[in-house]
């Protein structure tokens, strides 16, 4: 290994001799285990370092002022901070450099808290902290001023899905001044919400909400709505996506549709296909959910016609006029069993996996309130119809939802509680007066077996991720183990996708209420607007760069590249499209002539780090 001092001389042209090192106590978080002053003393002696300082909280205004002052005084031109994880305060210190009119990329960070003081003690800890600071100093000496990549962006967003979240996202984005295209595969706007009658907990009519929202969308001058339209191709990058979409106009009449076949007394059927490219800057996914369909025989579903799902019940009851007893298909319904958590909160080893080995282990979050809302509606509208509610747990979270439970008690709904290992059984009734009975080992009745004769069983089916595997593979979207689309961070980046410029709205992300779906949609629209509003998107400059003089045109880098379109051979030389480059370095590793390198993470910088780590 070469001596760092020698190395310094070798690179003296590029190497900074004015590095400032700032070591943080983090209260006692670091200094209780690391001898911070000893680290400072060591840093001061490192090659290129002109000043090394400590502070009890380097992220405080006083700590940051040390850095800005040294920069303003011209004492330093590179900065190393040794403190917590860079995810916490890297941007803080870059900001400090920017305030002193410096380039924010002349900065490197040594994590001596999570990587040192939180996991080790004593001399070893101090030793490791010195090594990490040394590596950062080694790298800092070779840091160059970098400029963020600037991409001209289109002030245009495409919303995929015309349900309530898609409508809300389109409207919000358009109100922010963006041009919006909303594509929807069916002929209708409103999605799953259109299947509802009145909405829990407050009872607004779903049709009113959707009509109002859809009207605003259809009338908005910035929004183009394309129905019967599917995404078939995805290309480009943040700020500049090209979406291929296909619109198929088919005959809306009732007969089965077979383009190319002769339809008696009509003629040969055709369909009109329009394919086009939508040039857009960002994409908001609002593809929604699908309602869980119980297995054949699950709580008697499919076996007994008196077993239906909650969405079925909502649809059927919505059409019934008032009388004292509910009547469905000419049958008087004197008593209804409603069973919670069907297709949700499934437990490995207890519930049956689907054909792909999946279980829905999550709570669908909306069914409890929906069940109680329907129970109240039926009890109030049809007082001679009794309701028996079978639950594992009841979660009526959110404003106005707990009241639904109180109201259900008031309305004489009778509750039974079962354990997941002993689900209620739905079987033909022993009482000839009723078609079915539900038997349950009831936790509320001291685990006694209870037999409830009923005319109807309603299964509170939850939500499942919609089948959008074509879009997922086309856009390379991350999907969670629950099959819903996965955001970058559940709390700190809740509507962002790992694919830059792609956002999430509504139930394609997780089961949620209409209110929550609209929250997500508005957030996604705001994110898209703040991204595209300037007409310019700034990206981190840590991307591959080709030295065309060294490039032999082997194409090895293009083969190794993990990001489609980031690298291409143009006139025998490798060419990087910075906006698509992930900065992973796979190309750097395979180039036989070392012609390609990463800005901000170059091979030379790595070598300098290693040299400092192994230096005595």
């Amino acid at each position: 290994m070469s001596d760092p001092k020698e190395k310094k001389n070798e690179n003296s042209v590029n190497r900074s001799e004015k590095i400032g090192v700032y070591v943080c106590y983090c209260g006692g978080n670091i200094s209780d285990h690391v001898d911070v002053e000893k680290v400072r003393d060591a840093a001061e002696k490192m090659p290129g370092v002109v000043v090394a300082r400590t502070n009890s909280f380097m992220c405080s205004d006083l700590g940051q002022d040390l850095i800005t002052q040294d920069l303003k005084d011209g004492l330093i031109d590179r900065v190393v901070v040794a403190s917590c994880a860079p995810s916490l305060h890297e941007s803080t210190f870059r900001g400090a450099i920017t305030r002193a009119n410096g380039n924010p990329y002349i900065y490197d960070h040594a994590n001596i808290r999570e990587h040192v003081s939180w996991i080790m003690h004593g001399e070893k800890a101090t030793f490791k902290a010195e090594k990490l600071v040394g590596a950062a100093v080694g790298k800092a000496g070779l840091l160059e001023k970098l400029d963020p990549i600037q991409v001209n962006s289109r002030k245009h967003v495409t919303v995929i899905g015309g349900g309530i979240a898609g409508l809300k996202a389109a409207l919000s984005a358009a109100d922010f001044g963006l041009n919006v295209v909303l594509i929807e595969k069916t002929p209708f706007l409103g999605g799953n919400a259109a299947m509802l009658d009145k909405i829990a907990p407050f009872g607004e009519k779903a049709s009113d909400l959707i009509s109002q929202l859809a009207k605003s969308v259809l009338e908005h001058k910035n929004i183009t709505v394309k129905t019967h339209c599917r995404l078939v191709g995805f290309d480009g990058y943040i700020g500049k996506f090209d979406l291929s979409v296909k619109t198929v106009f088919t005959d809306p009449s009732d007969h089965e549709q077979h383009p190319g076949h002769f339809v008696p007394f009509e003629g040969v059927e055709t369909d009109t296909v329009v394919e086009e490219i939508i040039e857009t800057g960002a994409v908001i996914l609002a593809t929604g959910f699908k309602s869980y369909r119980p297995d054949h025989g699950e709580y008697g579903f499919g076996k007994h016609k008196e077993v239906i799902t909650l969405p079925d019940l909502i649809k059927q009851v919505g059409k019934v006029e008032g009388s004292s007893t509910l009547e469905l298909d000419g049958r008087k319904i004197r008593s209804i069993a409603m069973i919670h958590c069907v297709g949700s909160r499934q437990i490995p080893g207890i519930h049956k996996e689907d054909e792909n080995g999946y279980l829905n282990e999550y709570c669908s979050r909306t069914c409890c309130s929906s069940v109680l809302f329907m129970a109240n509606k039926i009890r109030e509208q049809f007082p001679d119809t009794n309701i028996y509610d079978f639950y594992r747990d009841i979660r009526t979270y959110g404003r106005g939802q707990e009241d639904l439970y109180d109201k259900a008690s008031e309305n004489r709904v009778v509750f039974f509680r079962f354990d997941a290992t002993e689900s209620p059984q739905v079987i033909p009734s022993s009482d000839s007066d009723y078609p079915l009975q539900v038997t349950v080992k009831d936790g509320l009745t001291f685990n006694e077996e209870i037999e409830v004769p009923v005319d109807l069983v309603v299964l509170a089916t939850g939500m499942e991720a919609g089948d959008i595997s074509d879009i997922v593979s086309m856009m390379k979207l991350p999907v969670g183990t629950d099959k819903f689309l996965q955001e970058v961070h559940p709390k700190l980046a809740p509507v962002e996708m790992a694919v830059s410029g792609v956002f999430l709205a509504g139930t394609c992300q997780a089961p949620m209420t209409i209110g929550e779906a609209c929250n997500g949609a508005a957030a996604a629209a705001a994110k898209a607007a703040s991204l595209l509003g300037k007409g310019l998107v700034e990206l981190d400059p840590y991307v591959a760069e080709v030295d065309t003089a060294l490039c032999d045109g082997t194409g090895a880098c293009v083969d190794a590249c993990l990001a489609d379109g980031a690298l291409a051979m143009v006139d025998g030389k490798a060419l990087v499209t910075p906006a698509l480059c992930l900065g992973c370095g796979a190309c750097v590793a395979v180039c036989p002539s070392r012609a390609i390198d990463l800005k901000g993470w170059s091979l030379k910088q790595y070598e300098a780090m290693v040299d400092m780590i192994v230096a005595e």
Binding site: R334, L444, E449, I450, V452
Partner: protein, 100 residues
Amino acid sequence: MTKISPQFAEDLKQYGEDTALECFNCGTCVAICPLIDGSFPRKLIRYVQIGAKDRILLNRNELWKCLHCGLCSESCPRGADPGGILLSLKRYAVASWRKS
């Protein structure tokens, strides 16, 4: 196996209290009852709630343990009045005994 009878709440009305369905099974009445006896009186309230007529008659002797101190009714967070229900059940049990 206990079969529920939705009609029972109606039947009980002639003997007094009709508040059992207010109960949300919290167990405060059991905790406050000076008898400290199993799940008394919640168990009987629950039987009324689900209309388990047979279970009530089977357990009717328990009804006469109650001293009617009123603590359960006073502390019930739902106004289900367990003491009042027990009183109704006593009347119901007596009436049913005479019938049989």
